[in-house]
């Protein structure tokens, strides 16, 4: 039967034998250069720490105002949720919904799934039948999570507005930055292959 050290490259389908790959190392496809396998350092514990930090930051990051502007004695501020609701009110329902999915729902699902699955791995409860369908949601949400793009959007809005009015920032932007970083670090720490292998072996 098949040896578990054999992988096919996802981009060129080359069969590759991978032996003795240690934590922190990665294997690249010799033909097309695709990263076939990446083993992460201390993946389970790090992912638990990062995803719980991300979940703590979730509500402040989306509800607290990211920034405020002041001009002619009037002040106005906006949070991520307010941005979505004002698009909804200006009848841009599709745009409002896509931002809701890309910047709120997808990151939230990724954090919840990563936390649940990694905690189960830590406690050796990999036999639970619902873990596999749950972890598939992490993969599904991966393409559509765009927090880092929204972060660049914040920076561009700042530059666009800075000559027009007086800008001020509150704790909201700090929460959002760390929330975005939690997604980035989760991507770097979560070891998908390790999780699939352990979920499969635990059955």
């Amino acid at each position: 039967m098949l040896n578990k050290t054999t992988f096919a490259c996802n981009e060129c389908d080359l069969l590759i034998e991978i032996h003795d790959i240690k934590e922190g190392e990665e294997a690249t496809c010799p033909r097309c250069g695709h990263h076939v396998l990446q083993r992460k350092h201390d993946s389970v514990k790090r992912s638990i720490a990062i995803s719980s930090a991300g979940l703590v930051l979730f509500f402040p990051a989306i509800y607290l105002p990211i920034m405020a502007i002041q001009a002619a004695g009037m002040k106005s501020s906006a949070s991520l949720i307010q941005a979505i609701s004002s698009l909804w009110q200006s009848d841009l329902v599709f745009v409002a919904l896509s931002i809701l999915v890309f910047c709120v729902i997808a990151p939230f699902i990724k954090l919840i799934v990563a936390l649940t699955v990694n905690v189960s791995l830590l406690q050796n409860r990999t036999h639970l039948g619902w873990l596999k369908p749950l972890f598939k949601w992490y993969h599904k949400m991966d393409t559509w999570e765009m927090l880092e793009v929204f972060m660049l959007g914040i920076l561009i809005s700042i530059i666009k507005l800075k000559d027009m009015a007086e800008l001020s920032f509150d704790t909201g932007i700090i929460c959002f930055i760390f929330f975005m970083l939690s997604q980035l670090f989760l991507k770097l720490s979560l070891d998908k292959q390790l999780i699939w292998q352990r979920l499969h072996d635990g059955k």
Binding site: L15, T28, C32, I69, A71, S90, S98, M146
Partner: protein, 216 residues
């Protein structure tokens, strides 16, 4: 990691009668007679190559080219000073930025909102065309191109996010207000369509094609 120039005698999973799960990377013997083969590890549908990859990619890429037009011709937002203002499309917004001397940011917006989506659509057309004719680029170069197309796709949502923030933020009574336009919807739809188009293209087909060409 070193990348050798040529792998001598490359053997693919398909040639060995194997298929790898697209979701969890589990390698299984491919059952050609069974159209409903499921991955024993994660339960996803198993296929050696993405089904109808080229046909679907053609359809979605043509759609995204059509969607590119309203995305750039409809106004994405209007800045109202004392209730009056000119609607801005993506391109006229960039010209406004240039007029005020904000060159770096005009470049970023131009790149993310105009160059990237257009290059992405053109790139997909080129890759699809390369299946019809022999082209100069090698499969390796085309795979690299495909990787960039996939990676940069999401960054085109940038302008939509900027509009969302500005609309929520700039509401200072009757003095100045920013209103979003239908271009924001058209633009968001265009970005999502190009992402789907890129998703349907199976890069492994590029290598299959190269092997057939070389053996001729």
């Amino acid at each position: 990691m070193t990348e050798s120039k040529d792998v001598i005698n490359p053997i693919t999973a398909k040639e060995k009668g194997l298929a790898q799960c697209h979701l969890c990377d589990y390698l299984v013997p491919y059952e050609e007679q069974n159209p409903h083969q499921k991955c024993p590890r994660c339960g996803s549908h198993i296929e050696q190559r993405k089904k109808d990859s080229l046909r679907r990619c053609w359809a979605w890429t043509i759609t995204s080219l059509i969607a590119f037009l309203p995305a750039n011709f409809y106004p994405i937002m209007t800045i109202l000073y004392f209730g009056k203002g000119q609607p801005d499309t993506i391109l006229s917004g960039i010209f406004t930025l240039l007029k005020f001397g904000m060159y770096p940011i005009a470049f970023v917006v131009f790149f993310a909102s105009f160059v990237v989506p257009l290059a992405k659509i053109m790139g997909l057309f080129y890759l699809l065309y390369s299946f019809e004719r022999r082209t100069e680029l090698t499969a390796k170069q085309k795979t690299k191109m495909y990787r960039y197309i996939e990676f940069f796709g999401r960054w085109s949502m940038l302008d939509v996010f900027v509009v969302a923030l500005l609309v929520a933020l700039v509401e200072l009574g009757s003095i100045v207000e920013i209103v979003a336009g239908p271009g924001a919807t058209a633009f968001g739809i265009m970005v999502i369509i190009t992402m789907i188009a890129a998703h349907y293209l199976d890069p492994r087909l590029l290598w299959d094609k190269e092997k057939i060409d070389d053996s001729k």
